[in-house]
């Protein structure tokens, strides 16, 4: 690949376009003409960074770096609203005619399917997945140095900080193997957390093989194991790779034995590498080419393509990431998503590259890429769904699709009530990209207007909350997470309850059931006792215990999900110094002695603090929550009783004593201003608190009761 730099062309739109002569269009045409004259093959960026006094966008087109073998139109809008769609489409079509059209024709033959390898990387957090991915990209010259900004596969800040890849991405790599042949390697990244189990399974379904990356110092973790089983179940060729061999504590041989013992796949030939220091990484590429089977597929059969991810783009609409199994997908095709029934005309088809997309016009069997079709909403492009042609559809959708159901619910409220519309907009924007996020308006006496949001799991919940706060600058109060309970009333009808406030009164409640999960915990054997104790406390049912080797144990428990979403991870970490790893999947609903625990401040129930809990745990939780509130509610002019109650029975009580002294004794030589400011500050501070009846409750109090650490 060659690259060169072109003199920057930046032409400002005239501030007063001449009327009537289609001035914007003609201006853009002049600009495009000039750009084309200078660089026939060019990568263009159109920015709409500013608006003039009349609110019209000021266009500026920069023709920047020249990438000879590809042309991308990459558009960014500085602001979300555009004043004139027609102006924009005019510019788009001009650019398209100048830059794209001349190259996209020209009868390309279908990719030789035998030279394609589709694979994922399975690894525990910190075992080096992202680093290995970077190295593979480098070795295939997929990115030049200048653009290599730390980790490419992880696009979101949050993911980077947590070291977790949350949304799957894919990249197409070109690799010239030792046998002299050119191969296409499609790396499909998988989310690394238990919340996204289903997404992982769909990403894996798009591959023929998977690299199992194991840290030579730490060995196999529960999460890795779970995903590895998913891959094996999906019929993938799993290739172990032993990473971090350069660490002093590394024991590659032992790790290899562990892989063989626990997973039962041969590991003696597994490449021993250090992705971080680039040791032996080339061997991984050869290993992939030689051991992962080429995909199979029939270009003549009806189209069958698997959606493994999708992403919303404000210009193109939803970008759907697919793997084609049979048939060929081309631009202009009419397609149908078989599960949702949505039909669209395909606008653009291409490959996924590390820094964007490469138009190809078509995707053949075995290939991984994307298409766009002016789709407004990711709800139509569900992960796991099958894409087929409207004409000549495949009779049989790909197996494994299921509609993801949120498992954890929580109320999200803006701390400033006036920000409610902003919160709604932000949630809607996030949902464009996240089909598993659900929300509906709810209101609380304590917290005002907000939303009941449904999440795949706790991490998903945290990610959404953090994105709302960071990307949309919102200050939030969230209520304690809840699972979905199944309740039966005395009249026999049943209901699913995702909000503690809807939990029926004891008088009409016949029985209640809660979701149980099957949990596997891998833990160094020294901590087994701690973990068994923890699971016991959390109402776990012991199923099984296996020694993986002399000093690692796999514990198998059945646990109520309710207990896991309540700071289980933190407890797990603190009791094993971070060495334990957990994986769980939903098992079934079981009848349980559940009660609703209410919190009363000054005799009044605070709805936002109610939660559902097993009767045996109610006392301890009630005590803890009242203690926490006492710590966080400032003393006020009168004594405030804080009570926890089941129905009308008080089970715990604390008291915030009345404030005794809050006075500015001295009048500083007539400095009234200073005194006034102090009082105004105090008044502002009070405004930031929630007024519940007569009690002022700071936001921290709401947050604190969500984090009742042991």
């Amino acid at each position: 690949m060659t690259s060169a730099t072109l003199d920057l062309v930046s032409v400002r739109q005239p501030s007063e376009p001449d009327e009537g002569s289609g001035s914007e269009g003609s201006w853009a045409e002049r600009l495009a003409h000039e750009a084309y004259r200078q660089a026939p093959e060019v990568y263009i960026r159109i920015d709409f960074p500013e608006y003039d006094n009349f609110g019209r966008p000021q266009f500026a087109i920069d023709c920047g770096c020249l990438l000879l073998h590809m042309s991308i139109i990459w558009m960014c809008v500085g602001y979300s609203q555009m004043t004139s769609v027609s102006t924009f489409s005019k510019i788009f079509s001009i650019c398209y005619n100048y830059f794209i059209k001349p190259q996209s024709g020209g009868g390309r033959s279908l990719q030789d399917i035998s030279k394609i390898r589709n694979f994922s990387i399975i690894a525990h957090i910190d075992h080096g997945k992202s680093t290995l991915a970077d190295r593979l990209l480098e070795l295939c010259h997929a990115v030049d140095e200048r653009e290599k900004e730390d980790r490419i596969l992880d696009n979101m800040d949050l993911e980077r900080e947590r070291g977790i890849t949350i949304k799957a991405r894919a990249v197409k790599l070109n690799y010239k193997a030792a046998d002299g042949e050119d191969y296409i390697l499609n790396l499909i990244d998988t989310p690394g957390h238990v919340d996204f189990n289903y997404e992982v399974s769909r990403s894996l379904a798009a591959c023929e093989g998977a690299l199992l990356v194991v840290d030579a110092a730490q060995g196999i973790e529960a999460q890795t194991l779970a995903n590895t089983y998913l891959a094996i179940d999906a019929g993938l060729e799993v290739l172990p790779v032993i990473n971090k061999i350069d660490l002093a504590s590394a024991d590659p041989e032992r790790t290899a034995r562990e892989i063989e013992d626990i997973i039962g796949i041969p590991a003696e030939d597994a490449p021993r590498i250090s992705a971080k220091n680039g040791i032996n990484v080339e061997s991984v590429l050869e290993y992939i080419v030689n051991n992962i089977p080429a995909p199979k597929g029939d270009p003549g059969a009806p189209l069958k393509a698997l959606i493994f991810d999708s992403q919303y783009d404000s210009y193109k609409g939803v970008i759907v990431y697919i793997r084609v199994f049979d048939g060929v997908l081309r631009e202009g095709d009419l397609v149908r998503m078989m599960a949702t029934g949505a039909e669209y005309e395909v606008v653009e088809v291409g490959y996924l590259k590390p820094l964007g997309m490469e138009k190809s016009g078509e995707l053949a069997p075995g290939e991984v890429g994307y298409f766009t079709a002016s789709i407004k909403n990711v709800q139509d492009t569900r992960v796991g769904d099958t894409v087929t042609h409207v004409e000549n559809p495949t009779p049989q959708a790909l197996p494994g699709y299921r509609k993801v159901q949120p498992m954890v619910f929580s109320g999200i409220y803006p701390s400033d009530g006036a920000k409610y519309p902003d919160l709604r907009d932000a949630l809607e924007k996030l949902r464009l990209n996240d089909a598993s996020l659900t929300f509906e308006p709810e209101n609380s006496v304590a917290l005002g207007y907000g939303f009941r949001c449904g999440f795949l799991g706790l991490l998903h919940m945290e990610v959404i909350q953090e994105r709302l706060e960071r990307e949309f600058n919102l200050d939030l109060i969230t209520t304690a997470p809840s699972v979905v309970y199944k309740v039966r009333y005395t009249d026999g009808h049943e209901e699913m309850i995702d909000n503690p406030l809807k939990f029926p009164d004891a008088t009409v409640l016949d029985s209640a059931a809660e979701p149980f999960v099957s949990a596997k915990i891998l833990v160094p054997s020294g901590y087994t006792g701690n973990i068994m104790e923890l699971c016991q406390e959390r109402r776990g049912i012991f199923k099984d215990m296996k020694y993986i080797d002399t000093d690692r144990v796999e514990l198998h428990y059945e646990l109520p999900l309710n207990e896991i979403i309540y700071d289980f991870f933190d407890a797990l970490k603190s009791r094993t110094r971070g060495y334990a790893s957990l994986d769980y999947e939903l098992l079934d609903y079981r009848e349980s002695d559940l009660v609703k625990l209410d919190v009363l401040l000054n005799g009044e129930v605070v709805d936002a603090l109610s939660f559902i809990v097993h009767r045996d745990k109610a006392y301890a939780r009630g005590r803890k929550i009242t203690e926490k509130l006492k710590e966080n509610i400032p003393r006020q002019l009168f004594e405030i009783p804080i009570q926890a109650a089941i129905g009308s029975r008080i089970i715990a009580r604390e008291t915030v004593k009345a404030l005794r002294k809050d006075v500015l004794a001295k009048c500083y030589g007539g400095d009234i201003t200073r005194k006034k400011k102090l009082l105004e500050k105090q008044k502002e501070g009070k405004k930031r608190m929630r007024s519940l009846g007569s009690v002022d409750v700071p936001q921290e109090a709401f947050m604190a009761v969500l984090k009742l650490d042991d």
């Binding site: 002019l637 006075v663 500015l664 009048c667 500083y668 030589g669 007539g670 105004e680």
Partner: protein, 397 residues
């Protein structure tokens, strides 16, 4: 709030000194002269003060006089009170202090029976000083006794013993001062209910006309702030108990609790300080001094040198100036009036500010039920209410 800094020349007085306003109808102003010198700064004090030299004291006196002359050209009404505070006014020296008092009497028309106060510290008070103050027209002194327990005085960083204080008080009586105020402090490091009771009885035995009683507040950037973790400071609950003890003891001894922190025998309330609390006009002179005159609040730079320099060369000395909008005046009114046991009459509030009193009244009724406020035609706070006045007032403004 319109806070702005203006470049003003001292000779352009009218730009700061404006006519009396609606809330200050024909009230006679008071003058405050700040003497920013101390021999040693007390551990809890965050007032502006510096060490003095003879030369500096002389320059400063001249600057004050120049400033007073200028103001006298604008202030035509009579002056009702004069208060010389600090710092430690005695650090200026007998000559300068007398000169200042003389200048004030010469430049301004004093009302009949004015109140002229000078603040004194026991260690720097002697017969000669008291005599010359008396001669210069001073008719009220305020002695910073603070405590009758020497150990507590030491912990405050004060330079005197209680013996010094008693002596100073007695000399003042001998010299003929009939209106003496003393300061007492509660919440001192190591103070106990017993030691407070002792201080109270010792001070009562001196039989002063007026007692100011302040709770120790740990201000930022003071030596006490820096050692606050280690200091055995009574907590807020203990201070509340102390305060109640003070109120009870002084009430029994015949003192009227006329302001949150001030007690006086009948007829001896501080007329100067009442001006602050009743929104009456006052003019402050000296670095860091505050004024409220003609609806305008302003203060001067907190630096002796900048102040002297500014007065001498007509440079900028305004630190802060604000034309207080009517709405904020209403807040100030509530904030200050509720410090006084006389409180305020709703009718006056409504007349002055043309504001709806109902929401405030509703809150005050709540406080009345809680025993924090009382109403007898005028609204005022109870002793319990005084202790919580910040919370109460901030909910009203």
């Amino acid at each position: 709030m319109s806070k702005r800094k203006e470049r003003i020349r001292i000779g352009q007085g009218p730009r700061i000194y404006r006519k009396a306003s609606a809330e200050q109808p024909e009230k006679l102003p008071g003058l405050y002269l700040h003497i920013p010198f101390c021999r040693r700064k007390c551990d809890y004090c965050d007032f502006y003060s510096v060490a003095a030299t003879d030369d500096k004291a002389r320059q400063y006196t001249q600057a004050l006089i120049a400033h007073l002359e200028e103001a006298a050209g604008i202030v035509h009404s009579q002056i009702e009170t004069v208060y010389i505070g600090g710092g430690t006014p005695a650090m200026l020296g007998i000559k300068n202090l007398s000169l200042l008092l003389g200048t004030v009497r010469k430049l301004f028309k004093l009302a009949a029976n004015p109140e002229i106060t000078v603040e004194l510290n026991p260690e720097s008070t002697d017969k000669a000083l008291l005599k010359s103050l008396k001669k210069a027209g001073c008719n009220r002194i305020s002695i910073g006794i603070q405590s009758a327990v020497d150990d507590e005085l030491k912990r405050l960083g004060r330079l005197h013993s209680f013996e010094d204080a008693k002596k100073a008080f007695k000399i003042a009586r001998e010299v003929g001062f009939k209106n003496i105020s003393v300061d007492l402090m509660y919440g001192i490091e190591g103070q106990t209910a017993d030691s407070l009771a002792y201080s109270l009885s010792e001070i009562l035995s001196l039989d002063p006309e007026h007692i100011s009683c302040y709770g120790l507040k740990v201000e930022e950037n003071t030596p006490l702030w820096r050692r606050r973790e280690k200091a055995e400071l009574p907590d807020d609950d203990a201070q509340a108990v102390f305060y109640e003890t003070v109120c009870e003891t002084l009430g029994r001894a015949g003192y009227t609790h006329y302001e949150i922190s001030n007690f006086a025998k009948p007829g001896y309330a501080s007329r100067h300080n009442l001006k602050y609390w009743r929104l009456e006009p006052y003019l402050g002179f000296g670095p860091g001094a505050h004024s409220d005159f003609g609806s305008r609040r302003f203060s001067y730079v907190r630096s002796v040198d900048a102040y002297i320099e500014g007065i001498k060369n007509g440079g900028e000395i305004i630190d802060y100036m604000e034309d207080v909008p009517q709405k904020e005046r209403a807040a100030e009114y509530l904030m200050l009036r509720l410090r006084l046991s006389e409180g305020f009459a709703p009718s006056e509030y409504m007349r002055l500010f043309s504001k709806n009193f109902e929401p405030i009244e509703a809150k005050l009724r709540e406080y009345e039920e809680q025993g924090l406020a009382r109403y007898d035609g005028r609204w005022a706070l109870t002793t319990k209410g005084f202790l919580l006045s910040n919370s109460i007032i901030s909910s009203l403004i």
